[in-house]
């Protein structure tokens, strides 16, 4: 279609002219509170809020680009944010939220006409508001059921990050976006995701730099770098959404068992020790896995840097046992009384004690039983005699 010159000229001058003056032309109608479209939806626009918003300098037609003048089409086209926000829009289309709604942007950024900068506390995507914003879907039990989400919102809100952010208003505390990203949120099964198993140390490390470096100095981090994806990452011990302070008794109580998921034999033999017995009663000062092996920079005993390398044992045990000596540290914290080859003295002691218990209780079991039977009959006879007057 060929445009008449006049029409081109009108468009070229009239539209910028409209923007230059203000949006009053549009607001003449849309500024009325009770304005509705044919379907009965409000098409009211708060001009003041729009003016105060980050898009306040833009004309209405900047976003509603298909409207060229009045009267405008009955059904104007959906606003396409990607016209300006191309990178963000591309990220969203690649993310798990790609097909969530007609205009995904507004799901997080709120009302289209009053979008404020992300660092404005009024913004739904201001750091302190993010959990609530994400929670409007991810904390909704119906949504959780429909899409099979875990109830991450409640978990997060009770976590150390959730407390710090929502109770203390700490901007440095991790919000949803700190770990999951913003526009390009990918499923944790996607190897490019920030929450993909092998990417987690880097994700957490973006804040927890010290632990991250320690982790990669340790055997787990080294193995992860070497391509062993079975090694634990931050979330295997700390969880993802329910992260609590590591000083919490209940958390410490359960953590050794986490190591035991892989290190089964070491965990089983640990359970036989005084350290584990005491710990099971809720006494966290007793040695747990990490008290000897450290938590992030765990190294095998063969590494001279390791806390459990022979040369470092006196210092390691000495953290709790004042006066620990080379002789003292020959204690075996993972001794196995069923393993004769490695622990002959312990094996023989266990065997001796078992035999002692078995023989004494067998003997006295028989002794007691026979005694009971015999005296029972005796006393019944004596009773019968007494009754009959003998």
């Amino acid at each position: 279609m060929r445009w008449p010159l006049a029409a081109v000229l009108i468009l070229a001058f009239a539209v910028p002219a409209a923007s230059a003056q203000d949006n009053s032309e549009c607001l003449a109608c849309h500024g009325q509170h009770d304005l509705q479209d044919q379907a009965g939806h409000s098409v009211y626009v708060d001009g003041t809020a729009q003016k105060a918003s980050i898009h306040g300098t833009l004309p209405c037609t900047g976003c509603h680009a298909d409207i060229k003048g009045y009267p405008h089409p009955e059904h104007p086209a959906a606003v396409n944010c990607s016209t300006c926000h191309a990178d963000e829009a591309k990220d969203v289309t690649e993310s798990v939220h790609a097909n969530v709604s007609a205009n995904t942007c507004l799901g997080c950024h709120g009302d289209a006409h009053s979008i404020v900068p992300v660092n404005d506390p009024q913004s739904p995507v201001f750091t302190l508001n993010i959990p609530k914003t994400c929670g409007s879907c991810h904390g909704n039990p119906d949504m959780a059921k429909k899409f099979g989400f875990p109830d991450v919102y409640a978990m997060y809100m009770d976590s150390i990050h959730g407390f710090a952010l929502t109770k203390d208003g700490l901007l440095v505390a991790a919000s949803c976006a700190s770990c999951h990203g913003t526009h390009k949120i990918l499923s944790h099964t996607n190897s490019e995701s920030r929450t993909y198993h092998t990417n987690i140390p880097a994700t957490c490390g973006s804040c927890h730099n010290g632990p991250e470096r320690a982790y990669f100095a340790g055997i787990h981090g080294q193995q992860l770098k070497a391509g062993n994806s079975k090694v634990p990452v931050c979330s295997d011990c700390h969880t993802a959404h329910q992260i609590v302070q590591v000083q919490t008794v209940s958390w410490q109580m359960e953590r050794s068992a986490t190591c035991g998921n892989c290190h089964q034999k070491q965990y089983a033999t640990y359970l036989d020790t005084f350290h584990a017995q005491v710990s099971a009663l809720g006494y966290t000062e007793s040695a747990h896995c990490w008290n000897c092996h450290r938590e992030h920079d765990i190294l095998p005993a063969s590494d001279p840097q390791s806390t459990i390398a022979p040369g470092n044992l006196v210092a390691t045990c000495g953290q709790c046992h004042a006066g620990a000596t080379a002789s003292f540290v020959s204690y075996r914290p993972h001794a196995d009384s069923r393993d004769f080859k490695s622990f002959p003295a312990l094996y023989i002691s266990a065997l001796f004690m078992n035999l002692l218990l078995l023989s004494i209780f067998s003997f006295f079991g028989v002794h007691t039983l026979l005694w009971f039977i015999r005296s029972y009959f005796d006393r019944r006879k004596a009773g019968a005699r007494a009754e009959s007057g003998d």
Binding site: L281, G282, A324, S327, V329, L356, F361, H367, F372
Partner: protein, 279 residues
Amino acid sequence: MNENNTSNRYYTRFSLGQRYLHGVIMSTFVGLAFTGMVLRFSHTTWAPAVAHAVGGFAAILFFHKFCAVLLTVAFLTHVGYVVVYRGIIKRDKSVFWGPNSMIPQLKDLKDLFGQFRWFLWLGPRPKFDRFAYWEKFDYWGVFWGMAVIGFSGYSMWFAPFFARFFPGSWLNIALLIHGEEALLAAWFIFAVHFFNTHLRPGSFPMDLVIFTGRQTEKELKEKHPEEYQRLLEKGQLQAAQTNAPPEWLTILGRLIGVVVISSGFVLLVLTLVAFFRRQ
């Protein structure tokens, strides 16, 4: 002589000192057993609950050590009194040999076989003297227990000190035998000792002699006929006679007995269940 007479005449079996000694050993043993079993079976649901009720692990360990020291003192006092004072200073040979000695004699072996013959209706009941063979077994059991549990316990308490004389790997063995021997001791006391002395027909529900120190002539004749005969023949029966126990003492004895026997039974059941569940 009618029955009324034999029930009214009392003879001393245990001195006040012996009764106190038993009292200390009994209460510290129950204290040690409870606090220790909570640790031994800390994986159960009841153990942390008990620990929590007492005031946590620190309190458990404090009570355990407190009872251990008391028991050690009582034990050493007894050994010192019997061996050093009566045996060596007073030169009282009856401590080491004869019917009043706790040393096992040939008669104990004969009584043991006689008792089994009686169990099987193959012979008359043996005539026990002052201490029957199972009473001596109970007595020496404490010595064995003190040696094993005491030594291993103190090694763990003062681990770095003991490591000067033993390798640290001894601590592995110490915890193992401490726990196993404690199970042996606790189950033995709460099952075998309780039955032999209190719960068996003839003594049921409990024998108060350790609390009152006195037994009736009927009990003396029935339980220790050889001793009765010996005292009678030597004319020492009169000297052993004493007054009836005061009522408060009998009531107190019953009270202590009920508390200790029932708490021992509770611990017996808890530990047995926990032990066989885990095996």
